[in-house]
């Protein structure tokens, strides 16, 4: 068995370490296999530096055509699984062709890397950043090692952030006016607002506020839209009468939201909506959907 194992084992161990690994924040990331691993967190314009050590297996020598490290920003569409589209690709040659007999360590550095998009893992699309180390060989295939890392980009509070205010209704049946205090929320934000009932002629059973995520992938005729309801928050129980005003206070923190992504590299978009749903006693639903923008605010 040992022999067999040895046969399939890569010829060397490649270890990628970040220079600030001890201090850098680690965040959990769900891998394709389903397991969660902790990966370092970066943001755009940061230096990504570290060491790569290659250690051939005991008593083996590795003949190679060169060693390189790449920093890749990739988008993977699930209908085209395994086919990565790289929107960012930076390369550092670490070694000229030659042979490795023993462990060898290469420092590397990508400075002020432009990483405009955040890491994202959705229903139909995935955006990831990865360091890829390649030991090229003529035969036996190249030896490749990946190191994922996470990118999150922070935005300052928007300078213009109007409230969303709207009057909607069905003639002679239901008229409401609702208001959300902002149109742009950060991930730990609270949605404050109220619903004011101007006319109620139907027997309402309850009213919910839903947070919906709309992920659209592809473009043109191939556009694929997937909508998920991430939050269903009951605002009201029972039937209000004219003149009632129902408060909204929805904390966003318990939900797994991401910032809004608009047209990421012409591949996909992720948008968020608040959907106000009224359900009457016959389970008919009346709803009004409003887009909100979600951004990531720098933790203070």
């Amino acid at each position: 068995m040992n022999f067999l194992l040895g046969a399939f084992k890569p010829a060397c161990n490649i270890l990628i370490t970040f220079s600030d690994a001890k201090t850098r924040k680690q965040v959990p990331m769900k891998k394709e296999s389903g397991q969660t691993v902790m990966v370092p967190l970066f943001q755009s314009q940061e230096n990504i530096a570290g060491k790569i050590s290659i250690e051939p297996l005991q008593g083996k020598k590795i003949e190679h055509n060169g060693v390189k490290v790449e920093l890749l920003g990739q988008i993977e569409m699930y209908f085209d699984r395994g086919n990565f589209y790289d929107f960012t690709s930076l390369v550092r040659e670490l070694d000229v062709p030659g042979e490795l007999y023993e462990r060898k360590t290469y420092p590397f550095e990508f400075s002020t890397v432009e990483m405009p998009y955040e890491t994202y893992s959705g229903v139909n699309v995935r955006l990831r950043y990865v360091l890829k180390v390649t030991v090229s060989r003529n035969y036996g295939g190249s030896i490749v090692e990946y190191q994922d890392f996470m990118v999150r980009n922070y935005s300052p509070p928007p300078s213009i952030d109007n409230s969303i205010k709207m009057e909607v209704g069905i003639e002679d049946c239901l008229h409401i006016e609702f208001e959300y205090n902002k149109s742009k929320y950060h991930l730990k934000d609270v949605i404050i607002g109220k619903i004011y009932f101007l006319l109620v002629r139907i027997k309402i059973k309850n009213m919910d506020l839903e947070i919906r995520r709309r992920e659209s992938t592809g473009s043109g005729a191939n556009t694929h839209v997937e909508t998920e309801t991430l939050a269903k928050y009951e605002l009201m129980d029972g039937a209000p009468v004219r003149g009632e005003s129902i408060p909204i206070r929805l904390f966003l923190s318990p939900y797994e939201l991401t910032p809004t992504h608009r047209n990421i590299n012409n591949k996909f978009s992720v948008k968020y909506y608040l959907n106000l749903v009224l359900v009457d006693e016959e389970d008919r639903r009346y709803f009004k959907q409003q887009e909100i923008t979600i951004y990531r605010l720098q933790d203070s």
């Binding site: 129980d237 029972g238 009632e244 129902i246 408060p247 904390f251």
Partner: protein
């Protein structure tokens, strides 16, 4: 229906089981200090309260169970060493719950700790809680949720002196919070009704709603207990806001309950000082609201308050409590056009009671109340409602009871006008009440004006009223009524003869209209009343001689003649005869010979013309004899005429025994045992002899008719007369005559044809014993009797 209850029980059992189930897991989480799990299971437990299937009282059971669990949860939350989360974070954390009802219960629970921690001002937290609770709009669930909020916040209001009191004006915040909660709860409560839609209000729904009323009312109770709510604040904020809600909710059940609640929970003093505001709400209530009960309770409270201490009375005057109440009653009646007469009258009764208790000295107020009642009544064509009648009677009785004096009531100009609106039966009842009141209190009505009013009041008893159904009269009731009237006449009295005469004239005027059935009852009272006046005049005679006296006995006697005359219409000759004789006697005392003679003449005329019944004749003749005997005013001629007549009639009675007795009674007419009385021994003897003859004849007739003689009683009676006159010194009565008579009696007794009779035997024996006794007495009498040989 039965099925419904069964289902409800099933649902309740399921709910309870659910609560127990999740409570178990919650306890486990609490024991292991697992906040996340605790929140999860408590929310699930609270979700059992989301049911819509239970009626209020069953829902309450669920609520109480969760309430107990929440207390446990609260003590866990309180101890942050157990869960390590600050109360501020906790306050946010519980708001993550997706369902609104569990979320808000948890929020209130944490909110309570938040206030206690003082990390935020109580008012901010309370305001937030109150606001967030709007999320539950379902009536029952909302009411219970807010009731929970009220419960947990009760001891945490930023009241004056409370540890949660903030910098400035925080009492206002406390009040604001409770008011807000009250308003919202009331809206929910009212909505239970609207939920069902109009026209389908069943008794069950009403019942379910009233089961919840105390949840709403509790807020008012809390308000009343806030230290900082002083009169000023109550006046400026609390009451106007509460009333605004009450009026605007336009729901009769709620309005009635809440008005009552306001009246009961706040202090009397506040009510008095805010009377205007409170009352101004009344006319704005729904027409179906039982305002009269509300107002009655208010007036009850106020009058108790007034009764509690004399010090508060000036306050009543200062705020013009009466006129305000009176005003609002008018307005309420106006506003509630559909209000039954009984309601309006009940209101007046309440107001009257209030007036009597608070302003007993203000008769004008009392009159005013009656006046406005008259106004109301005059809009009703005919009062037929029994209950309304009852209320009118209550209205009229109240002043009588209060003042214990009809005289006071008589000064109320509107009193009779109210009475006019009663139906005939009730009118009589009321009249009886009035009379009884007079009797009970021995009130003396002493002026003609009052008498006039009084008789106007009780005219239902005095005369037939048009439309009365005479046939249905109960004979016994009628007698009682008329006897009462007769008694009443005796209560009318004035020392001043002139006034008294007026009174008599008025009574006469009224009673004469009474018709033949009533006259026998009333006339005698009136006659005696008049005779009393005559006697009174006699007493005064000395003082008023020579003056131009308006009231003389003569005048009165003229009046009396007319009065008694009226009995001829009845007819009631026996009574008239007795009255004439009474008058004659009075005239005798006044030395009015002609008048007395005239009365006697009338009496004889009646005897001759009207009294046909032999028994009545016997009675009448004895009355005549008795009266005549006492007359001393007559001259010889007149007296002779009258005695002659009397003796003549006596001898003409039908039965011999009656004849005999009347004749021997006549003997007294000739022997007045007075100093200067007539003492005509001869005619006495004549009478007695005649009586003896008749007795003999009676005996013989009895013998002839039945073959046996009657008892010797008549003889013994005559013997007694003999002895009487003998003793009085009538020379014509000799001892031998007495002996002869005794002899005769003995013979008769021993005769075979005589039936032994123990009574007459005993009579005779005791008569003889009397003679013996007189003999033994010695002295002049003894000597006299000694001559009688037995």
């Amino acid at each position: 229906m039965l099925n419904g209850t069964e289902d409800e029980d099933k649902w309740l059992a399921e709910g309870i089981a659910g609560i127990q189930h999740y409570a178990f897991f919650m306890h486990r989480a609490l024991d292991s200090n697992n906040l996340r799990e605790a929140l999860k299971y408590s929310a699930q437990m609270l979700s059992e309260l989301r049911t819509s299937k239970l009626p209020p009282h069953k829902y309450y059971e669920l609520y109480m169970r969760t309430f107990d669990e929440l207390k446990i949860l609260e003590s866990f939350f309180k101890d942050d060493s157990k869960h390590g989360v600050s109360v501020v974070d906790l306050y946010e954390l519980v708001q993550h719950a997706g369902n609104v009802l569990p979320r808000l219960y948890l929020l209130c629970t944490v909110g309570s700790i938040y206030i206690k921690s003082k990390e935020a001002p109580a008012k901010e937290v309370l305001k937030d809680l109150g606001e967030m609770c709007r999320g539950v709009q379902h009536p029952i669930r909302g009411l219970f949720l807010r009731s929970y909020l009220a419960q947990i916040s009760r001891d945490k209001l930023p009241d004056i002196g409370s540890e949660y009191e903030g910098d400035a004006d925080t009492v206002m915040d406390a009040v604001e919070f409770v008011l807000q909660n009250f308003t919202e709860m009331n809206k929910l409560w009212v909505r239970m009704q609207q939920h069902q839609g109009p026209g389908r209000v069943t008794e069950k729904q009403e019942k379910e709603r009233s089961e919840l009323q105390d949840l709403v009312g509790k807020n008012l109770h809390v308000l009343s207990q806030i230290e900082g709510v002083d009169l000023e604040m109550y006046k400026e904020t609390v009451l106007p806001r509460v009333l605004e809600q009450v009026v605007n909710c336009k729901d009769d059940l709620a309005q009635y309950y809440l008005m009552d609640c306001i009246i009961q929970v706040f202090p009397d003093e506040y009510h008095l000082q805010t009377l205007e505001t409170l009352l101004s709400a009344c006319p704005q209530l729904q027409p179906t609201v039982d305002v009269k009960t509300v107002l009655s309770r208010l007036m009850d409270r106020l009058s108790n308050y007034a009764a509690s201490s004399a010090d508060v009375l000036p306050e009543f005057l200062q705020v013009e409590a009466f006129s305000k109440l009176s005003n609002v009653i008018g307005k309420v009646i106006e506003a509630q056009v559909d209000m039954a007469a009984v309601g309006a009258i009940t209101l007046h009764v309440s107001l009257l009671t209030f007036t009597l208790r608070v302003h007993p000295d203000r008769l004008d107020y009392v009159d005013q109340v009656l006046g406005s009642c008259v106004k109301k009544l005059s809009n009703i064509p005919k009062l037929e409602d029994r209950r309304a009648m009852k209320q009118v009677v209550a209205l009229l009785s109240a002043p009588l009871e209060k003042y214990n004096d009809i005289v006071t009531a008589l000064t109320l100009s509107n009193y009779p006008r109210v009475m006019d609106h009663l139906d005939i039966g009730t009118n009589k009842v009321m009249a009886m009440v009035i009379i009884q009141s007079i009797m009970k209190n021995y009130s003396c009505i002493s002026t003609a004006d009052k008498v006039e009013v009084l008789f106007e009041l009780i005219k239902g008893l005095i005369k037939d009223i048009d439309g009365a159904d005479v046939d249905e009269l109960d004979e016994e009731d009628f007698k009682e009524e008329q006897n009462s009237v007769a008694r009443l006449i005796h209560m009318l009295y004035n020392d001043e003869p002139e006034e008294m005469l007026k009174i008599i004239c008025i009574v006469r005027k009224h009673t004469m209209a009474g018709g033949p059935k009533r006259l026998p009852f009333t006339v005698s009272s009136l006659v005696f009343s008049a005779l009393q006046l005559v006697r009174q005049l006699q007493g005064l005679e000395g003082d008023i001689v020579g003056e131009d006296v308006p009231v003389t006995p003569k005048k009165i006697f003229q009046l009396l003649t007319q009065i008694i005359d009226s009995l001829s219409a009845v007819p009631s000759p026996e009574l008239a005869l007795r009255l004439y004789l009474q008058c004659a006697e009075a005239a005798n005392d006044c030395d009015l010979e002609h008048v007395a003679y005239e009365f006697f003449t009338q009496a004889f005329v009646l005897y001759e013309e009207e009294i046909a019944d032999s028994k009545a004749q016997v009675t009448a003749i004895h009355l005549i004899i008795g009266t005549l005997q006492r007359m001393n005013v007559f001259g010889v001629e007149n007296r002779d005429t009258l005695t002659h007549k009397a003796t003549g009639y006596s001898a003409r009675l039908l039965k011999k025994a009656d004849q005999c007795r009347a004749v021997y009674a006549c003997s007294h007419l000739f022997w007045i045992d007075d100093q200067d009385g007539i003492k005509d021994g001869e005619r006495v003897l004549l009478c007695l002899k005649r009586a003896l003859r008749i007795a003999n004849a009676a005996q013989q007739m009895a013998n002839a008719a039945r073959g046996s003689s009657g008892p010797v009683t008549l003889f013994v009676e005559i013997l007694n007369k003999y002895i009487y006159f003998f003793e009085k010194g009538n020379q014509q009565i000799t001892s031998s005559a007495i002996e002869g008579l005794i002899e005769l009696i003995n013979t008769e007794t021993q005769s075979d044809s005589t039936n032994p009779d123990s009574i007459s035997d005993a009579f005779l024996a005791s008569t003889l014993r009397y003679i013996q006794f007189q003999k033994q007495k010695g002295g002049v009498v003894g000597e006299k009797f000694e001559s009688i040989k037995l």
